[in-house]
């Protein structure tokens, strides 16, 4: 299990290549990559604030819950903070399990919990100034299924 919270960019391909050599009982690996979207073409940058100390603990607790619940052979969470440009990777998760259903469910569980339970806050900076991204009711509702 590996959890990293960092300002530096990460290399998604290299993380994928290095993940999931979890032994002979791994049949399925799922990864999720979150990217800074810029639908309007007006986003100058995104800034992600976090709560140092709590962030690592909250993510580790979520990752450990996923590992235990889906008997994961391995789990990885990387999440950036600080300034990010459109198109840059924000975060990723990876799960390794015996079967595909467990790998998918665990990755979705991780994403749903990271969205709403890990202390990150996104701010978008555009031509009209800065605005904090509002939490969506959908994201809170997504937790109900677990």
């Amino acid at each position: 299990m590996q959890v990293r919270v960092q300002a530096e960019p990460f290399d998604y391909g290299a993380e994928c290549a290095g993940f999931g050599d979890g032994g002979r009982d791994v049949g399925a690996v799922v990864t999720f990559l979150g990217v800074v979207r810029d639908d309007s073409g007006q986003l100058a940058r995104m800034e992600i604030e976090h709560y140092p100390g709590m962030t690592e603990k909250a993510i580790a607790a979520i990752a450990e819950e996923a590992r235990a619940r889906w008997s994961l052979a391995d789990v990885l969470v990387v999440h950036r903070h600080g300034a990010l440009m459109p198109g840059e990777p924000i975060m990723m998760v990876a799960t390794a399990a015996r079967h595909r259903v467990a790998a998918f469910e665990a990755a979705e569980f991780l994403m749903d919990y990271l969205k709403s339970r890990a202390p990150f806050w996104k701010k978008e900076i555009g031509p009209d100034g800065a605005a904090w991204v509002a939490a969506k009711d959908d994201d809170e509702d997504a937790l109900a299924r677990w």
């Binding site: 709560y51 709590m54 909250a58 994403m111 709403s116 806050w121 904090w132 939490a135």
Partner: protein, 82 residues
Amino acid sequence: MIDVLYFAWVRERIGLPRERVETSAATVAELVAELASREDRYAAAFADLRSLRVALDQQLADFSAPLDGVREVAFFPPMTGG
């Protein structure tokens, strides 16, 4: 004495990221009432508790939670990671 931390727009409204507070509040809600009565910027930050979250010693908690033994309280908006 307790460390009080603010994040995101709560930090921006209050105008500082953290402070040490002398308080005899027994619960988070009592601490919020004390802070909100200080100045307009605090009142503005704490105007709508439904749009706020609180962590006690880096664990999410409720506004009704007791402060007994707590060293660090953090206030922030709903999280938007991932």
